[in-house]
Amino acid sequence: MQQYHVSFRGVQKSYDGIRLVVKDLNLDIEKGEFVTMLGPSGSGKTTCLMMLAGFETATHGEIYYNGRPVNDLPPHKRGIGMVFQNYALFPHMTVGSNLAFPLKVRKQPRHEIDKAVRDALDMVQMGEFIDRYPGQLSGGQKQRVALARALVFRPELVLMDEPLGALDKQLREQMQYEIKNIHQRLGVTVVYVTHDQSEALTMSDRIAVFEDGIIQQIAPPDDLYERPDNSFVAQFIGENNTLRGTVATIREGVARVRLEDGQMVSALAVNVDTDGIPTLLSIRPERVAINPDEAKMAQTVDGHVEQLIYLGDHIRCRMTVAGNSEFIVKIPNAGGSGMLEVGQDVRIGWLTEDCRALDAQ
């Protein structure tokens, strides 16, 4: 077995003995990787993190850390750094003492502690706040301190549970960048939890999409966006158009699909394997062309323009296509594009490889 930094093997977890909140989790994480667990609320992300940190025990299965099973190892012996959503800075200690805490319990010498604390605070640009109490810091500042505290004892693995959840958008983006930077500089493995997909896409090496205790797909961000394995992932990540239909034939990985209004289109057969089953076609809004060159784009259908929204760099066009009135097309603002009008009927098209035939859920 190749040695991964962290491995979940067939892990299950139930709190009440009735319902599994994590079902058969298998996940391997390499050293230095930045893996994000992304999923809707209640999908079991925090539970997975807590099992890894040692605060919850797996009901079934094994978790390996550095090749060692850790199911019976108490949290303080795991040496895993952790950033909590609500920061969890000790309110009765100064910023400096908060950072010194993990080093003190490790009985490091005084001067080493001082230096390590100062270095860690400088890393997050919080050096001048060393004597403040957490109550005297802003949310963003607390988050930086929490980050520094989780890193100050040089763990090889850091867990972050929605660390930026409480921050406003601008600060969140800045912190994303800084966390990413620190990750690259220190080479630590990061397991990151969020339900903000743009955060997951910008920061991660790989994203594990959770739903209902199951990993739906684990892949690098571009794969996840462009090649979703199933319709949950397609709809969860980024904006997505869906068209319902039935598979007519499948030939060499390409399915001919009859839409609800009878039009026929081709799509990559990703998640369908037999003729006659219902399917959900997934097409990204930016891959749809208006009045396409029929020679280049084999897949064309009729659309009816419902609404146009001017967004500066592009125009969002909502139209009805094959019975779906929420079909979105992003038209780049290439100048002189006042050609569409609400109520107009147009021809739209896309490439076969941009249209994926997925499970109908």
Partner: protein, 410 residues
């Protein structure tokens, strides 16, 4: 730089103005309530304070003497008019039996004054004209001693510190200096120290028992917590007297505990468990425990579990996480609980009176004693003032530190 400073001060000024407006608004809201408190809380306390120094009764008994001594320098015995005045006063006060009251009061300052006044009162009818000085000194030559006149003059002032001094085992000597009372009369300081000692012991016992209890409540499931809470509040629903008496039943020689121990054969004679210090500790700790547990619980319930988890993830053992992170965060609860228990214990009366022995009585017992048995309101008030000052100073010293005003209960 200078510009910077002016900007600073104007900002500070603005802040102060904004704060002041807020304070005025708050003031109008709590104004009526404050008035009510003033009437029903501070006025009785004020009356007690006044009672402890009020000496006007003496001037009512000996009005002429008080007037005649007002300008006496105190260097030698006073002049003839002072003697005439006291003869006149005594003629009226002796038959009215108020002379004995004055005598008792002056005897505090100068032993022998009581018998001096009564003896003179008995014979005062014989003095029918001047020279008053010589005739009075003939009745008792103590009247020729300036020391007695000094005591008398001090004793006729409108206010007196005598009772308060007495409550601290101090008194004035004949030269108007504050000195300690003779050793065999000094009892109050040791009672005050005993009161503090018992209160402190009860506070520590409550903390030792209450802290784990509150922690257990804060960490257990809702149903267990409610059960414990009811058990705790049950204490409030039973009368203090009943609870104290039930301890006597449990702890007395033929009580449950001793019967059981005798039955097991661990002891051959009943252990003295009640009517002594042990009984006082047991009963007071039981009665005051909720006042420790409730503030502790309220603080603990507000501490999210992620703090201890954070400590564990940072490498702290469960014990280190508990003592270095959890316990310090409960300090406001510890402070508030200890202060509440301690301050209440200071004023405890019924419980020690019932389950304690003579050597376990606290200051309040003597307040009641002076009111009920001696009908000496002044001494009772003086001891009350001592209690009040004790309580107040503990509150001021520690209340600020534990921020008791920010405490929420339940």
């Amino acid at each position: 730089m200078a510009q910077h400073t002016t900007a600073d001060t104007s900002l500070r000024e603005k802040l102060r103005r904004a704060e002041r407006r807020r304070k005025i608004q708050a003031g109008t809201l709590i104004g009526p309530l404050l008035l009510l408190m003033l009437i029903f809380y501070f006025i009785p306390i004020g009356m007690m304070l006044y009672r402890s120094i009020d000496n006007s009764r003496m001037r009512e008994i000996l009005p002429n003497t008080a007037r005649a001594l007002a300008h006496w320098s105190g260097e030698s015995i006073p002049g003839e008019e002072a003697f005439a005045a006291i003869v006149r006063d005594m003629k009226k006060a002796y038959p009215a039996r108020t002379l004995a009251t004055a005598g008792r009061r002056l005897n505090f300052d100068q032993v022998g004054f009581y018998s001096l006044l009564l003896k003179s009162g008995r014979k005062i009818k014989k003095i029918d004209g001047p020279p008053y000085r010589d005739k009075l000194i003939k009745i008792d030559k103590k009247w020729g001693d300036p020391a007695y006149w000094t005591v008398l003059k001090r004793g006729l002032r409108n206010i007196t510190w005598m009772y308060l001094l007495r409550a601290l085992d101090l008194r004035y000597d004949t030269q108007n200096r504050v000195v300690g009372v003779p050793e065999e009369e000094a009892i109050y300081v040791s009672i005050i120290l005993r009161t503090i000692y018992i209160s402190l012991s009860v506070t520590i016992l409550c903390l030792v028992i209450g802290y784990p209890l509150a922690y257990f409540m804060a960490t257990s499931s809702a149903s267990v917590r409610n059960l414990l809470m009811i058990g705790l509040l049950l204490v409030f629903w039973t009368s203090l007297l009943v609870r104290t008496l039930s301890w006597i039943l449990v702890l007395q020689d033929k009580g449950v505990v001793n019967s059981f121990l005798l039955w097991t054969g661990l002891i051959s004679h009943p252990l003295p468990l009640v009517f002594n210090r042990f009984g006082v500790y047991v009963a007071m700790t039981h009665v005051l425990l909720p006042f420790m547990v409730l503030p502790l619980y309220s603080v603990m319930a507000g501490i999210p579990s992620y703090y201890v988890r954070a400590a564990r993830s940072l490498g702290a053992t469960p014990i280190a996480a508990f003592f270095k992170v959890y316990t310090p965060m409960t300090l406001p609860g510890i402070g508030a609980g200890c202060l509440m228990v301690f301050i209440q214990a200071l004023g405890y009366y019924i419980t020690p009176a019932l389950v304690g022995g003579p050597k376990d009585q606290m200051v309040s017992y003597f307040v009641a004693f002076f009111v009920n048995e001696r009908v000496n309101w002044s001494m009772a008030s003086a001891l009350g003032v001592v209690l009040l000052v004790m309580t107040g100073s503990f509150y001021l010293i520690f209340g600020k530190r534990v921020n008791i005003t920010n405490m929420k209960l339940g």
